[in-house]
Amino acid sequence: MMRSIQRTFPLFVTALLLAVAIVQLTVGYGEVRRASRSVGDTRLRFVDSVLVDLFRSGPQRARITALAKDSAVVAFLRSGGQRGRAQALDALRRNTLDTASNVRLELRDFSGRLLLSTGRFALGDSVLVSPGTDSARFGPLQRRDTVLFFGIAAATGGTEQAAGNGTELSGGIVQQVARLQLNDRTRRQLTGLSGGDMAFLFGNAAGDPWTDFGSILSAPPANVRNSPRPTRYERGETKRAIAMAVPGTPWMVATELPSRLIVAPAQGYLLNMAPLAALIVIFGALAAWWGSRRLTAPLVGVTRGAEAIASGDLTHRVPAGRDDELGRLARSFNTMADQVSRSHHHLETQVAQRTKALEGTNAELESFSYSVSHDLRAPLRAIHGFSRILLEDHNAKLDPEAQRLLGVIDQNTRRMGQLIDDLLAFSRLGRTDLSTGPVDMKELAQTVADEIQRTDNGRQGSLEIRIDPLPPARGDRGLLRQVMANLLQNAAKFTRDRPSARIEVGSRADSGQTVYFVKDNGAGFDARYADKLFGVFQRLHSTEQFDGTGVGLAIVKRIVQRHGGRVWAEGAVNQGATFFFTLPGEEP
């Protein structure tokens, strides 16, 4: 297939638009995703900080701290639970929150023995929190079966040292145990606060247990818990989470969003933009196709015009209405076509004139040779005729010398007649048209040879004519016959005095052409004059030696040349001669 701007340009533009669209979509998708992620992270952090504020719970700590300094509580604990029980209980009840069903306050001695408690649920003794001295301390989130709870504990002032020294116990521990209400409603209420797509997690920074306030969960992976940055992890699906420690506690909160929610806007962007981009690409491709057609149509016109002119239609012109470079191209093309047409016409006129002039010259030559043929012969005939009549009718009155002179006249007029005939034949050759066809050269040579054998009189010795197989030629049979006849007659003539004359007709191939030759063992010629052999009236032997007008070989040369061939001769005095001529083969 041929390369065509009309096809490649729209393809190129389409590819370009497609590349731009793909880059635009990719970059856009990335941007939207980044933005959406950033918004998500901000939300996560914000919610984290709210939760942290909620769980660090300053007031509770203050309350328990205060309770540990309450005189009634201190007195009760210092007495080892022996005295002031009613006052201590009263102090506890005062400090118990309204949501008392999930909160229990305990007073224990340092060994952990429970001295007094409020609240309705019991969890045994193992939930003790290592108590703070100056203020209450939070214990880690703990699990008993399906219950999650944590404690806050504070020791009554100045008693630890004594306890550490193994001295008498004086004081104890105030501990609050809070049970987390885990149910789906709570969880849903919490997530509802954030719009429903976010999950809030709460647990220990060190590990299990964790909860989303609906159920107990295992802790998020350590990399989530240990990093302040948003981290992806799998929990049912891919989540993006940010964890944040709750200061002053062993706890940690984490919020998470499903990754798909973050990616969703980017996907939405793709979904909206991709068809738009496709539309732009399609429109661009169509525009490029149309544009390239508009651009190349004039070029195609000029190309067709050039082809038309090249194939000979010189009247072809291309439309040149446009006002741009293409219009200029078309106009230049038309100007060029005009010039080509003009010079072509000029040439044709010249050829016609020359042809006419040539025809005129030919006609003149024709009438000239006609005149020569007719008018030159008549006086010659008269000279010959009357000199003969003189000899016949008045012989008695003529002395021998007069008779001899009349003989000379006779001889020369005959010769003159022969010269005129030969010259006319030679000049006719230039004017007659060739009627070309395949010619069987072997048969031609044989016919001529037979004729020569028949009419070969006055020979002393024998004459042998050998004809090799000859390839056929393409030419005018009549004229080629004359070539063969002239050459064979020459050969016969110049071997007349040989005791055993031999003539050979043969051929050989030479660089795509056929070279025919006629070889004899006759008188030959001086090779120095070989180029004179083929001139008109050129003779290398005297008329006394060998008769002839010197036109035969000139005729041979002219016929061969008119066939597009060459003619030449080789020979040496008394060593025979070979005449060569080439002819185009039968297949042109």
Partner: protein, 139 residues
């Protein structure tokens, strides 16, 4: 008219050729009733002059003053009264177009006058003998 008993009409403008022709005919005793015209017009007059005798043969040269030989040939062969008369073109021209044209116009024979006297004499006497003695005309 002197044209009574004309057997050969010789149309020849060259007096030498005419003489040589007559001599050749004479040697065969064929020259008694020969009438010579010296140009084409004279030849045409010969036939248009009323009670024209019918020669046994016309020997016609081609290159003639006034009306040339081919024209004479065309007129004679185109005329119902003369078209049966044998016409032998006797000319110096051996040009192929002349020969073709002459036969096209209805020439009965075309002889090229040889330059050689003996050959010429032989040709003329032979054709005289043939057309006067051998050939059998329609009348």
């Amino acid at each position: 008219m002197q044209s009574h008993g004309v057997e050969i009409l010789l149309v020849e403008d060259n007096a030498n050729d005419a003489e040589l022709t007559l001599r050749a005919l004479k040697q065969r005793n064929l020259a008694n009733q020969v009438f010579v015209c010296h140009d084409g017009a004279e030849a045409l007059d010969f036939f248009s002059s009323g009670a024209s005798p019918v020669p046994k043969v016309v020997l016609l040269d081609l290159k003639l003053p006034k009306v040339d030989g081919l024209e004479v040939l065309r007129r004679l062969k185109g005329d119902a009264r003369t078209k049966a008369i044998p016409i032998v073109v006797l000319t110096s021209s051996r040009e192929e177009p002349d020969i073709e044209r002459a036969y096209e116009l209805g020439a009965n024979s075309y002889i090229v006058k040889p330059v050689d006297f003996e050959a010429f004499s032989r040709a003329v006497s032979d054709l005289g003998l043939y057309w006067l003695l051998v050939n059998r005309p329609p009348h």
